[in-house]
Amino acid sequence: MTDFTTPPYLLLERSSVRRVMLQVLAALLPGIAAYVWLIGPIILVQLAIATLAALAGEALMLGVRRQPRGLFLTDGSAIVTAWLIALAFPPMAPWWLIVVGTLFAIVVAKHLYGGLGQNPFNPAMVAFAACIVSFPALMSQWPALGLTLTLTLSEQLQIIAGLASRVDVMSGATPLDALKTALKLGDGELDVPTLLATQEVFGHFAGRGWEWVTSGYLLGGLWLWQRRIIAWHAPLGFIAGLSLLAGVLWLWQPQQFASPLFHLFSGGTLLGAFFIVTDPVSGCTTPKGKLIFGFSAGLLAYTIRVFGGYPDGVAFAVLLLNLCVPLIDMYSQPPIFGLKNEK
């Protein structure tokens, strides 16, 4: 159907949100493929639950706000939020946790602030922060190693649906959490290299299995950069900030702190670097600002992750930096073309 009444540049604009979102979704596929292969196909169920919840919440709020449903429901932004939530939450999270998180992201973090393009905070990270503050136990229950592979899919579905007991089987922790807890319990007698070599939860250079999932995110992120969907400033700044702090502490006390490589491929680092801090809405807009934004978020994410009480720090770091975005943008305006930057 050709629309002759709309000027061509508007047609291009309208479809470009959808095109960008579709490419972001495509860039998540390598990570999802590794997730399915190494952790289990259960993630596909979680992705479907999150997508349905996001579209339902989006349709509801668009109706309440009397905005065109056809235009905004198909732009894919809600699905990107939903997928990021499903990938950031524990794979065996009960279905209602995913639904609550997704609805909170869409209804509160996105539409109460004015909808697409208006939200000061990254919706997926708001959902993560709200859920980990409200349900710390459920959000920290990661499957013990190999569990999702040994349980049949129907047993996994029963756990998600809340029909089967989750008490005994869900004793695992993320590799980051396992490292932190072991160091705390070891009280100085255990050191990081020994732990990484002996404990089953760790693989070649990060968490077993998870290291390849995060490598998939890296691959997708690089593709997005190559397609010019995202700029290099924010991801590089984020990775640099996190690696710098991790590297300094690692060189200072290699027995007490894991290597930057471990931290890069653990938790939400790479998902955050390429899919969260690159958010064009809640992130900075100027190139220099993006670099500052990413770098500060990286420093903060490492600090919260290693010295804080929560399993990972990416969500809190990004939300805190989202607050600083107007300030950073104000002080990082590039000089106007043709004028000298007056100092």
Binding site: V100, V108, L112, A130, V133, S134, F135, L138
Partner: protein
């Protein structure tokens, strides 16, 4: 003697048009800290109502004797004396609740609502009107804090009236949602209070906008809190 319209205006202003929590946005500190459940919110509001009614009455009676230049210290002295009385009564009668509410009962002295009404209304109006203004401003605070406390308690823990046994030992809390309800802890935490208060303010504005749209001939009541210097 006061006319019926005046009474109605004082009542509507206190309960709705100049609601302390939803329009004037005063007294946020107790509002955020105390409304983790319905009983706490109601009991703190009751304490505030007592203080506001008596302090408004006292200031209104003495308004011609208080030198204008030092009126604020005098108001504070009157309010502080009343709060001390209420504090002692709570400590004697509802000791467990007193421990829960803690510092927020003495802090009624510094609550902007009390001083705002004393300064803006009681200092300029006769005894009866001032007393009613104190009561109805307090009632406005009461229903808002009760609603907010009830919502936070229900969403956060699935119960209602928890801690009612501290006021009436014979009564028990209501478990409205199933016992295995995991509890949306965020609602109990301070951010939940901010989010829900924002929703309540939006709801009030929506109600007024709809009412104004339905009766286009009559202009809506001005709900400007700034007019009385609060």
């Amino acid at each position: 003697m006061m006319i019926r319209d005046e009474f109605r205006q004082i009542r509507d202003n206190g309960v709705w048009h100049q609601n302390t929590s939803l329009v004037q946005i005063l007294g946020l500190c107790p509002l955020l800290a105390v409304t983790t459940n319905l009983v706490n919110g109601v009991m703190l509001s009751l304490a505030t109502i007592i203080v506001m009614a008596i302090s408004n009455a006292a200031v209104s009676s003495l308004r011609n004797l208080i030198p204008h230049e030092i009126r604020i210290p005098v108001f504070i002295l009157i309010v502080a004396a009343l709060v001390t009385v209420v504090d002692l009564i709570f400590n004697a009668q509802f000791h467990d609740l007193y421990l829960v509410l803690g510092i927020f009962i003495p802090l009624i002295v510094t609550n902007c609502i009390v001083l705002a009404r004393v300064e803006a209304f009681a200092n300029k109006n006769p005894l009866l009107q001032s007393t009613l203004d104190g009561v109805f401003m307090g009632v406005g605070m009461l229903w808002t804090l009760a609603l907010l406390g009830g919502l936070r308690e229900l969403i956060g823990g699935g119960t209602l009236f928890s801690g009612i046994d501290m006021v009436f030992p014979a009564l028990q809390q209501l478990q409205l949602l199933p016992a295995d309800y995991p509890g949306f802890l965020l609602a109990i935490l301070p951010p939940g209070a901010f989010i829900l208060l924002g929703c309540l303010i939006a709801w009030k504005n929506w109600v007024e906008a709809r009412a104004a749209a339905r009766s286009p001939g009559r202009p809506p009541m001005p709900s400007a809190a700034v007019t009385d210097g609060a």
